[in-house]
C-alpha cells in the first residue's frame, strides 16, 4: 500500500453502465465491446464514451487492448459483441469499413509513424486533404486556391514549412510524427485517434507535441490519445482512462487514476 492511497483523493469512478443519454450525447460510444483472438480476449466488455470537443488520454499496460480498441473504432477489426456508435448514436461503426469510417470523420495516427515516404511532405498533405476521393475524378484533379490556403495553414500548425519539398522518408522520426498529425488535420476529422505520438521523441519534441494536440483540440476536434509517457499525459491535462485486460480499470483525472490502487498494481508500479 502506498502513501498516495492514504491521501483523501476522490476515488476514480468505477466503470459505469451506459445509458440512452450517453448514446445520444456522445460523439463516440462504445458499449460492451468484446473482441477475441483465438480465445484471447483482447477487449472484454469495453464501454466508454467521448464527447464532442473532448480530449481524452488512454493509458494502460502492454496488451491492455489499446490498439485493438482503435482497430475496432476505425473498422479494421469487427467486434464479436457490443455496440460502437458515432455522432450521437446515429452511425453504427461496426457495419462500415475503414474507408467509410475515415470519410465519416475519424482519423487515425499509427503507433509507428506511417507517412508516404516516397512523396514530398507537401504531397503527403495534399493526399490527406479532405475532398475528392474517387479514383477516376482524381486523374484530372487540379489543386484549388482554397486547398492551397488550407495546406499553408496546416504547415503553420505542424511547423514543417521549410521541409515542404523534401521527401517524407527523409524526415526525422519526430518530424514524421508531426507530418502524420498534419495529415490527420488535413482530413479535418471530427475525431482523431492518436496512438503513442511521442514514442521516440526528445523531451522538447514531446512538450511541443502536447502543445500541438491541445491546439488541435481547441480548434474543435475531439482527440483520443493513447500514450505511455506519463509526463506527456500530465502535459495534456485531460481526463484519463486506464485500460487493463480489455476493459476500463479506472477513469478520471490523472491524479485520480494514478491514485487508484488497481492502476498502481497493474500499471504504474509501486
Amino acid at each position: 500500500m502506498t502513501d498516495t492511497a492514504a491521501f483523501p483523493v476522490e476515488a476514480a469512478e468505477p466503470p459505469k453502465a451506459m445509458t440512452e443519454k450517453n448514446l445520444t450525447e456522445a460523439l463516440l460510444y462504445l458499449d460492451g465491446v468484446t473482441v477475441t483472438f483465438d480465445g484471447f480476449r483482447a477487449l472484454n466488455a469495453l464501454s466508454f464514451t467521448v464527447d464532442a470537443g473532448e480530449m481524452r488520454a488512454i493509458i494502460g499496460p502492454n496488451g491492455a487492448g489499446k490498439t485493438t480498441m482503435m482497430d475496432v473504432i476505425t473498422g479494421k477489426t469487427r467486434p464479436d459483441k457490443g455496440d460502437v456508435f458515432f455522432n450521437g448514436g446515429t452511425t453504427d461503426l461496426t457495419k462500415l469499413d475503414e474507408t467509410e469510417i475515415a470519410t465519416l470523420g475519424i482519423g487515425r495516427k499509427f503507433q509507428k509513424p506511417t507517412v508516404f515516404e516516397s512523396h514530398t511532405v507537401i504531397d503527403n498533405l495534399r493526399l490527406a486533404l479532405k475532398g475528392q476521393r474517387g479514383a477516376l475524378a482524381n486523374i484530372f484533379k487540379r489543386e484549388t486556391a482554397q486547398e492551397r490556403v488550407k495546406i499553408d495553414e496546416i504547415f503553420e500548425t505542424i511547423r514543417l514549412g521549410e521541409h515542404a519539398h523534401r521527401l517524407a522518408g527523409a524526415l526525422s522520426h519526430g518530424q514524421k510524427q508531426w507530418l502524420e498529425i498534419g495529415m490527420l488535420l488535413a482530413q479535418d476529422p471530427k475525431l482523431l485517434l492518436v496512438d503513442e505520438p511521442v514514442a521516440g521523441m526528445t523531451d522538447a519534441e514531446t512538450a511541443q507535441t502536447a502543445e500541438l494536440l491541445r491546439e488541435i483540440n481547441a480548434n474543435g476536434h475531439s482527440v483520443v490519445v493513447v500514450e505511455h509517457d506519463m509526463t506527456f499525459v500530465r502535459d495534456l491535462g485531460v481526463r484519463v482512462l486506464c485500460l487493463h485486460e480489455g476493459s476500463v480499470l479506472a477513469e478520471g483525472t490523472l491524479d485520480q487514476v494514478s491514485a487508484n490502487e488497481r492502476v498502481i498494481e497493474v500499471y504504474l508500479g509501486r
Binding site: T74, K76, D97, E98, T99, A102, T103, G107, R108, F110, T114, V115, F116, E117, S118, H119, T120, I122, D123, R126, L127, A128, Q132, R133, G134, A135, L136, N138, I139, F140, K141, E143, R148, I151, D152, F155, G161, A164, H165, L167, M183, Q187
Partner: protein
Amino acid sequence: MSQTDTRKPALLGTGGLVFLAIVIGLAVLVPALNLLLPAGSALHVPTYLVSLLGKYLCYALLALSVDLIWGYVGILSLGQGAFFALGGYAMGMYLMRQIGTRGVYGDPVLPDFMVFLNWKELPWFWYGFDWFPFAAAMVLLAPGLLALVFGWFAFRSRVTGVYLSIITQAMTFALLLAFFRNDMGFGGNNGLTDFKDILGFNIQADGTRAALFALTALALAGGYVLCRYLVRSHFGKVLIAIRDAETRVRFTGYRVENYKLAAFVVSACLAGIAGALYVPQVGIINPSEFSPANSIEIIVWVAVGGRGTLAGAALGAVLVNYAKTYFTSGMLAPYWLFMLGGLFVAVTLFLPKGILGTFLEWRARRSAGSPEPDAPPAPGITAKPAE
C-alpha cells in the same frame, strides 16, 4: 509565407523528353532507312530487322504496362502475358478472317483449322472479327474486361503480395490450357497463322512492315505519355501511396480497391495493344504466349531496366530481348535460360533499382539539394510496402 509552389510540374521532364525523342526518332528513321535506301547501302535497314525491332518495341510497351502496376501500385502481376496474348488473339482473329478463300482449303468463311476439324459453321465468338473496328475494340475489351472481373474479385477480397502474384500466374496458366484445346475454337496448339493481309495491305510487304513498326513506336510513345500523366496526377500519387502504405491510404478515406482496379485495367489494355501490334509483325499467335514463364520474363525486363521508372521498363525489355536474340542464335543457345535467371539474380543483388533507377539515383545524388525532386525515387525490386 506560402509553401505551396506555383510551378506546375512538367508532364515529361528532361528524361521523358529524351525517351520520347528516341522513340519517335525510331518511328521515322527505321522505316525511312528501310524504304528509301537501296538494299546495298551501308545504312539500309533490312526488313527482317524492321520486324525484329518492332517486336522489341511491342515488348517495351508490354513492360511499360507491367511497370505501371508493379512499379507504382506494387501489384506484382505474373500473368501480364495473358492480356498481351488476348490482344494478340483478337488481332489474329481479324487477320484470319482476312485470308478469305486464299487458305489451303479455300473456304470463304472458315479458317483452315476449322475446316480441318470438320466444323461446318463459324462459332459465334468469331462473328464481327472480319470488321477491323470491331477487332480493334476487342483488342482493348478482351484484356480490359478480364482484368476488370479478375481485379474486382481479387482487390475487393484484399488479396495482395505473393498471393496475388500466384493467382495471376494461375489465371494465365488456366488460359494456356484452355487455348491449347482444339474445341475452344482458337486454333488449338498451332494458334493462328498464315496471315495474308491487314486492312487490304500485304502483310509481308516492306511498306506494311515499316508502317507497323512506325505504329508500334507511336503506340509506345503514346503509352508512355499516358502512364507518365497517370502516375504524376493526383490519382497516381494515390497509387504510389498504396504501394508504400496501403493501410494508411484506407484510413485516409480512399477506396484502395478502386484505384488498384483502374490501374490494373489500364495496364491490361496497354498489354493488349502491345499484343495486337506484335501478332502481324511476327506472323503468328499461339497458346505459348500464355505460358507462365513468359509473364515472369516480363518482370525480369522491368527489374533490369528499373522498376518504377517507366522508361527503364521499356529499356529493359529492349536490352534483354536483344541479348536473347543474340545469345539464342549462337553456340550459347542452350544456356540462355540460365543466363536470364542469372541476370535476374545479379540485378536483384547488385543493381536492385535497375539500370535507369540506378542512373537516376546517381544523378539525384550529384545534384543533391535541388528543392523539387524531378521524380520520386524508384522503389527497386526488393522494396517492400511499409505494412
